[in-house]
Amino acid sequence: MAVVPDFLIKRVYKKGSLREQDGAVEFDLKNVLGPGVICGLEYVQINDYKFTKEVISFITQGVELFANSVSEINPIRFRLGQEGTMRLLEEVKCLKNGVNKIIIEFLNPEAGRMKITLEDNLNLA
C-alpha cells in the first residue's frame, strides 16, 4: 500500500456532503492537491457496508464514469480544482447519525493501490 499522507488526501473530501439521494448514496470530492489519475476504482465502504465497483460511478464535468469501465486505458483524469460526485447506486441504509466512516480504494498508475479513510459527521434527524 502506498504511503500517501492521510491528512493530505482527506482534503479532497468535501465535508458534510455524504447523503442519500434518489436511491443512491453520494458524496462530493474536490481536487485541491494536484492533477491525478485514477486507473481503477476498487470499492467504497461506508461504515460496515461495502459497495463493489458494479454500483460505483463518478460524476464529473457532466459525465458519469462507471467504476467498471475505469482502467489504465480509460482512466479518470482528476484535475486540480476539479469537482466530482461519487455515486453508489444501491438502495441500502448505511448512513447513521454522528460519525460515518468512508473508505475508498483505488488504483493510481504510479503509486499503485491506495486507500483513503475519511469521516463525515451527519445529523440525520
Binding site: V3, E110, G112
Partner: protein, 833 residues
Amino acid sequence: MFVKDFCILNILLHIFKINAKMVPMDIKFDKYSLIINGKRIVLKSGTIHYFRLFGRDEWYDRLAKMKSGGYNCVDLYLCWSYHNPKKDFWDFEAYKDIRTLFQVAQELGLYMIVRPGPYINGEISAGGLPYWLMKEKDVVLRNRIDGDFIYSKPYMQHLRDWYGKVLPVVKDFDNLILIQIENEYSTNGGENEYIKELYEIVRSYDIKVPIFHNDAYIAGLYADDVDIYACDIYPYINPKTNWREETFAFDTLDNLEDMARSFKENSPLFIMELQSGWYDKWLGFGYEYIREDMGREHVNIMTKTALSQGVTIFNHYMCAGGTNILDMSSDEVYTSYDFASPISELGIIKDNFKKVKEINYFLDAFDLTMSEPKEADFEIPQNCYAKVRHDIINNCDWLFLRNFNSCETMIADVNIPSFDMKILPRNLKLKACEILKSGVEIFARLYGDERETIFLMSDEKNSITLKDSNGEIIKISADRADFDEFLFKDGSRETKLVFISQKCSDECWKHNNTLIFGAKFIYPDGKIALEDKTQIITYSLENGYAKETHTPDVQSKRIKLTDFDVYFCAPEIERGYDYSCWKKIKHNEDFTLQDTFSSDVYSEFVWYKGKISNVPREISITARHIFAIYINGYEILNRNSYKHDNLASVDEHISVDIDPKVYDGCENEITVLVQNLGFDRGFTNNIGSPRGLIYFKTDNNEYIDWHIRGRITLDEREASDNQAPYLACLKKDFVIPKEYFDKNIFAPFVLDMEKTPFRRATIFLNGVKIGRFIRHNANQSKFYLPKEFLRENNEIKIVIWEKSHRIKGVWDFKNYLKNVIINVETHKVYKLF
C-alpha cells in the same frame, strides 16, 4: 626534518587557502529572490549525483559544462550509505571525497545546494540509508512506519553521527547557498517534530544559509518549519502516457504562484526539483525512447512555465546523468542512470541542454528577479497558457506564451509552434532603442558601458517592433539569415541586434562577454571542444567577429575483445564445498527464512547452502530477484524472478520438480544463489522488505539448516568437472592508447555487449563492478567505462551466470564463451583547443 617541515607547511597552506576564501556570504531573501551580498540573483541550478560520477576529472567535466551552459549552481545530494556502508566504517577517500567535489564547484564559481538527507531517494537502494541501520535495535527509519510518525531516539543518534561527518565539511565552503533537510518527507499526521529537530542540528554547526525542505506533494508541508518553502514538480512520470495529450499534468506548475504563496508569503518561489528528464526502469522503455519522447520541448515548457509563475530559484533534476556501480541502485533501476538529462550519462551535451542553455543565457541578459503577475490584455486560445509579468527592475512586461495545441497557434499576435513556449519582452528599454513588442526570443546579450549587442532567435513567422531614439517605430521581420544585424544609435550609445537560427544557437557558447559559435561544448577556462574540422566564429563587443579553423587529429577507437581467457568460478556450487564457517540462518516454521541482515550479509549476491534428504520431489520458492537452485552441483532451476508492477517489484512464487537422478545417497547438498537488485528506494513503499531467499518449502516439508554468505567469488574452479558449468568468468586484458587520457581529449569509452549471446552478466573493470547486464530486463547493452577506473592497461572480467540450453558439455560451453566478441569503443571523441 625538511620533509616534516614541508608537510606542515603544506597543511598550513591548505588551511590558509580554505580560510582565505572563507568570506561568508551575506544571504538574505524576500518574496522575490535570494539576495547575495546585496545583489539579487536567479538561482539556475542543476543536480548531479557525485556517487554516480567518479572522481575529480568527471566532476570537473560535468560541472564545467554546466557552468558554460549558464548554470550558476549545482545541487548535491550527500549519500549516507555510500560513505558509511558498514557500521562505524566511514569512507570519504578517492572518488568519495566530497571535499574535493566541493572544491571543484567552488573553483568553477558555482554555488552549491547541499542535501545531506538522511534520506535522499534518488533511486538509490534504500533511498541512501545504510543497510546496517535497518537491523539496529529500536531504529525506526525516518521516524515513520506505514506513514505513522514514531519517533526513534537511536535513529536520531545515528543521523546525528552522519550529519556530524558531513556538515563540518559543508560548512567550510563559502559557495554553499542553501541546505535541505530530509527529502520529500511526510507522515499520515503531518507531524513536524522531526523536521524541526533536523533544522536545529544543521544550525548547531553554525551553518547560516537558508534551510529548506522539498515538498513532493505541493501541499505546504513544513513551510513554517523552514526558511524557504520549496517543492518538486514532475508532470512526466509515466512514459506509457503521452505528455502532449495528458497536459493536465501541468496543472500544479501552472498554478504554483498562488499555491506556494498561500504556504509561505515572504520567501522566493523555489522549485527544488524541476523536471528535466526521467529515469528508466528495469522492464522500461529505454533512455532513447524517453529522450525522444520528452524532446527539448518538455524542459523548455517546464522551465519557462516556472519562470512565468515568478520562480527565481529552480533546480533541474537531473542536469547530468550517471552510472549505478557497485550495489548502489534501488531495485527499480539498471546500470545506466542517464535520466535523459541535459548532459548524458557519458557527459555528452544533448538537445535538452541546448534548450536550457538558451534559457540560462537569456536569464543572464536581463534581471528577472523582481516581477509581479499582471492581467493578460489579450485572449488566450484553447489549450494555450499565457502569463504576463511586470518586471519591476527593467520596468517592462514579459509575456510567457505556451501552445499545447497540435498545430501552431496565434497568442497575443505571436505565432507559437505546437508544444512550444516563448518568453517575449514588451516595452523593454535598451541602450539605444526600445522593444515595443516582440515575437522573437532573446538568446543572449553582450554589454559594455555604452554599447550592447543582443542576439535574437530568428523566426520566419514572427517579427519584432522597436522604437528608435527619434521615436520612429520600426517593424523588423525575424525571418533572417545567421548574423543579419541591425544597428541603433542614441548619441554615444549603441544597440546592435543580431539574428541567429536555432541551429546556430545550439552550438553557441557564452564565455565572459564573448560568444563562441560552432563548438560542441566549451569549458569555463575558454577551451573549446570539437569533433570535426570546424570554423569557429567568436564575437565580442570590442573586436567584432573573428574566425579560426581547427582540425582535431584524434580518431574514434574500437578495440575488439575476443579469445577470452575463460574459467569456471563459484566453487560454492560444488558438493563438498566447505561452508562450515558461514553464518547460520533460521528456516522459520512457515518456511520463510530469516532476513540476511541478521547475519550481517548485505551483498547483492547471497549464497545459501545446507543438507537435504533425497526425498523431496518438488520445491516451492520465492526469492528476490534472480536465483538458481543446485542440488549436488546440478542446476535445478535458474530463474529471473524480477517483476515490477505499479512502482514496486512484486514477488513471484514458483514451484519446480526435482529429477530424483540428482540425488546421490542420503547426504545431499542444496545450494541456492540469489542476486538481489537492490532495496526499494522508499518513496512510497517499505524500504526494509527483505532480499535474498524469502520462502523455501519442499513437498515433504523439510526444514533445512541453512548457512549463508554474501558476494560472488571470482575464484577459479576445476574445469574438469562436467556437472556445473553454470558460472563462468571471461577475462581479457586490453590497452587504451595513451592519447585518450590526454587532458585535451574528451573520449568516453563504452563496453558493447549487444552482440553477445548472454542473457545475464556482471561486469568488472579493473576489479570494480561497473555493470549489470540483464538482456530482457533493460534496454541497455552498452556500459560506460568510467574514466576513474580506466587505465592504459586494463583487465575486464565478465561473469556469466547462465548457460545456453543448446550447449551440453563443459568444453562446448568454454569454447562458446572464449570466442564471444565484445567491443570496447569510444562513444564520441572531442578535442579541446
